[in-house]
């Protein structure tokens, strides 16, 4: 049974490293559902967070294949551990005088935030896990969603196992 997995990949921040990862997925027929990349606190490294859907044995292969790439320092399947996952949705929604009150009510209940208001369009930010973002979008769909932009997922373990490293020696210890 294919299931969704969040894989966190620590890489050296060098030209082409993202291509290597993306090529690996396309070349071996794996699927990327979402992808985020940003430098870590120490900008010589970057963190790539990939959401992918596959059978468990394929996920195991994906992690092994990622590890095989030279600039990849560490791969963690966060789905297996205790992790906090987070993503952001930005929505432009049509609101009129008649349904404004109902709309504001949904926004308040979902802890969404209004970022911009024009005469007919409200731009709203919703954050949370995948389900919270999805649910909010479903709730406001009847108002008329003009645009929906969604970030990929970022995730972090609750324990301090997969932090950024201050120096190469610490990092070597941890990456073993």
């Amino acid at each position: 049974m294919p299931t969704s997995h969040t894989i966190s990949v620590l890489v050296t921040n060098e030209v082409g490293v993202l291509s290597r990862i993306v090529d690996l997925f396309s070349g071996r027929g794996y699927n990327i559902e979402s992808l985020t990349v940003a430098p870590t606190l120490d900008s010589i490294y970057s963190r790539v967070t990939i959401v992918t859907r596959a059978d468990d044995d394929v996920i195991e292969q994906i992690c092994k294949q990622l590890n095989r790439l030279i600039p990849v320092i560490k791969v963690a399947n966060l789905t297996l551990g205790d992790a906090i996952e987070y993503e952001i949705g930005l929505l432009k929604i049509s609101v009129n005088d008649e349904n404004r009150a109902e709309f504001m009510n949904i926004v308040a209940q979902a802890s969404a935030k209004i970022m911009d208001v024009t005469e007919k369009i409200y731009t709203v930010k919703i954050d949370g896990d995948e389900k919270q973002v999805q649910t909010f979008a479903e709730l406001v769909r009847p108002f008329g969603i003009k645009e929906f932009v969604r970030s990929g997922k970022v995730a972090i373990t609750k324990s301090g196992q997969f932090s950024t490293f201050k120096n190469r020696k610490d990092e070597l210890k941890l990456s073993l």
Binding site: T12, G27, Q61, K64, R68, I70, I73, S175
Partner: protein, 569 residues
């Protein structure tokens, strides 16, 4: 004090010398002119000029496989680099350590669609272990050091270094780094002793054990350790195509090659085993046949240096990641300490079964008065075995007949394209092997189709007086594809009938020796003449058109469904 400055081209050559490189294969061009000029000015590295860049990489691979050293090839940018892709993919599949230096357009022109520009790092990404674009001459020595380290450790493979022409010309001091610092690359060499212990316990209790020896045993130079483990545990050994020679074929316990065209006995043994001890094999589809039916009831112990190979196709019961030589040495140590006495009574029925299976072999086919390819190859083997030559092959029927009929008692004697199955590999690989060995001769067993894929290398061979004896099994067809068409596509021989030039005249026009053989009694005299000749030879063996390779397991079938003759089909 001012340190001496060197050009990037000189730094490259000095680094290669530091890595012990003595020979390289290549083809010059516009952007590598500074490198070729630096080559001209030195005499530590010998350069072999090939006739096609693909052949340069295959030759470097043949060189690496024959010698166990690193193969190095140099080509120019754009078309030169693009022509190397097949060679890279081949080496990547078969785990051969190579360094490919590609020239690149001036770094200021990269991305501007300059003349002979190609995105080499992009194009080669999926067919090499790692690649580099050098952007600063200061990084050059470090990158070369890293490239050699990556190519020769873990699962070995090709590494590409793309060097823009201005980097070749830029000046910097030379200091070759002593160590490599790659935080993301730490191949596991040791092998876990507890896993080895578990493996041994499983093997002690096995009633129907078998060892599969793959190309990894050769890569790790672990033949002696394998022999000791197999002998002490009394386990029969089969090998994959890439594992040919890792376990001596002359031993009673060697059951030969397994797989699609493997021995009946080898396939049946693996299919019926209760414990499969797989050493350095990827379990490719050519080995497993129908994956769902492969080793369904067997426990699988799998040693490989590449974690990706373990449980990729066949689930391992006891995975051991590590260098095979190390892991088998740990196993031998544990055997030395163990009080366990290997009890063959457990395996008596198993040995009886194997003896019975050994009796079943492919049934000889006599179809016409023309030469039988199998007879030709057996005669070549018998006549040349005293010299123990390196044997290269192309890809197709002749390759399988060679693997089936030649006996190899040492690794690195059969050089063949296993994973990628590259027609045109054998001849340049034989040239590389000859460059490494420098004495005797190298056989290249070829088909009439394959030999025409890199036939231009005959000139390279003549230039350097390389004694490569090309034995062309000329059956007028792309035989392996024709064989599938006969069996699976209702004898629709679509585009597989292939014509050839007059190989004798062709050889002569290059300045090589050409001999045609049409009758059995001509085979040995032709070989005598070939071995005597001081240079490359082409022997055109005009063979039966419709001979088939048996044993044969049809694609997708379980490996114990072995066809032994046309009549069974």
């Amino acid at each position: 004090m001012n340190k001496q400055m060197y050009s990037g081209a000189q730094i490259l050559l000095k680094s290669l010398v530091k890595e012990g490189v003595e020979e390289i294969f290549g083809y010059p061009g516009g952007v590598v002119l500074p490198l070729y000029d630096a080559l001209y000015m030195q005499d530590e590295i010998k350069h072999y000029l090939v006739r096609h860049e693909q052949a340069a990489v295959h030759a470097a691979e043949g060189y690496a496989r024959a010698s166990g050293r690193v193969g190095v090839a140099v080509v120019t940018s754009g078309p030169g680099a693009c022509n190397t892709i097949t060679g890279l993919a081949n080496a990547y599949y078969d785990g051969t350590p190579l360094i490919l230096i590609t020239g690149q357009v001036n770094s200021k022109l990269i991305g501007a669609d300059a003349f002979q520009e190609a995105d080499v790092v992009g194009i080669t990404r999926s067919c090499c272990k790692h690649n580099y674009l050098v952007k600063d001459v200061k990084d050059l020595a470090r990158i070369i050091k890293e490239a050699f380290y990556i190519a020769t450790t873990g699962k070995k493979g090709p590494v590409v270094i793309d060097i823009p022409v201005d980097i070749f010309n830029a000046k910097y001091t030379f200091e070759y780094p002593k160590n490599v610092e790659l935080v993301g690359y730490n191949p596991n060499y040791k092998g876990h002793p507890l896993q080895v212990q578990r493996a041994l316990e499983t093997l002690f209790e096995a009633k129907r054990p078998v060892i599969i020896s793959g190309g990894g045993v050769m890569a790790s130079n672990a033949s002696n350790e394998l022999k000791e483990v197999a002998t002490r545990l009394q386990i029969p050994v089969v090998h994959t195509l890439m594992g040919t020679g890792t376990y001596p074929d002359s031993l009673e316990t060697s059951l030969g090659m397994m797989g699609m065209h493997g021995n009946y006995c080898a396939n049946l043994t693996v299919a019926n085993a209760d414990v499969i001890f797989a050493i350095g094999t990827r379990f490719s589809d050519r080995i497993t046949g129908c994956l769902k039916k492969f080793a369904r009831d067997a426990q699988v112990i799998h040693i490989d240096i590449d974690p990706c190979s373990i449980s990729k196709n066949v689930k391992a019961t006891i995975p051991i990641v590590g260098d095979i030589k190390n892991v088998l040495s740990i196993m031998i140590e544990q055997l030395n300490k163990s009080k366990h006495v290997v009890n063959n009574d457990l395996k008596e029925k198993w040995f009886n079964d194997i003896r019975e299976w050994k009796k079943k072999v492919a049934i000889p086919q006599k179809m016409s008065e023309k030469l039988s390819a199998i007879t030709v190859l057996n005669t070549i083997y018998d006549y040349t075995k005293k010299d123990e030559p390196i044997v290269a092959t192309e890809v197709g029927q002749h390759q399988m007949w060679t693997a089936q009929n030649f006996k190899f008692n040492q690794p690195r004697k059969l050089i063949t394209s296993g994973g990628l199955g590259t027609m045109g590999f054998g001849f340049p690989a034989a040239i590389g092997a000859m460059a490494a060995m420098k004495k005797g001769y190298v056989l290249n067993i070829a088909g009439d189709g394959s030999i025409q894929m890199n036939i231009q290398e005959l000139m390279t061979c003549v230039d350097y007086k390389f004694k490569v004896i090309n034995c062309i099994i000329n059956n007028g067809y792309l035989g392996m594809v024709r064989q599938w068409q006969e069996k699976i596509y209702n004898e629709h021989y679509s585009q597989t009938k292939i014509s050839s030039p007059d190989f004798v005249k062709l050889a002569q026009s290059y300045g090589a020796l050409g001999i045609r053989v049409e009758r059995e009694e001509e085979i040995i005299p032709a070989l005598e003449k070939a071995i005597e000749f001081d240079g490359p030879v082409m022997i055109d063996f005009v063979c039966e058109n419709f001979e088939m390779v048996y044993p044969w397991v049809l694609a997708g079938q379980p490996i114990d469904k072995v066809l032994l003759s046309r009549e069974e089909c």
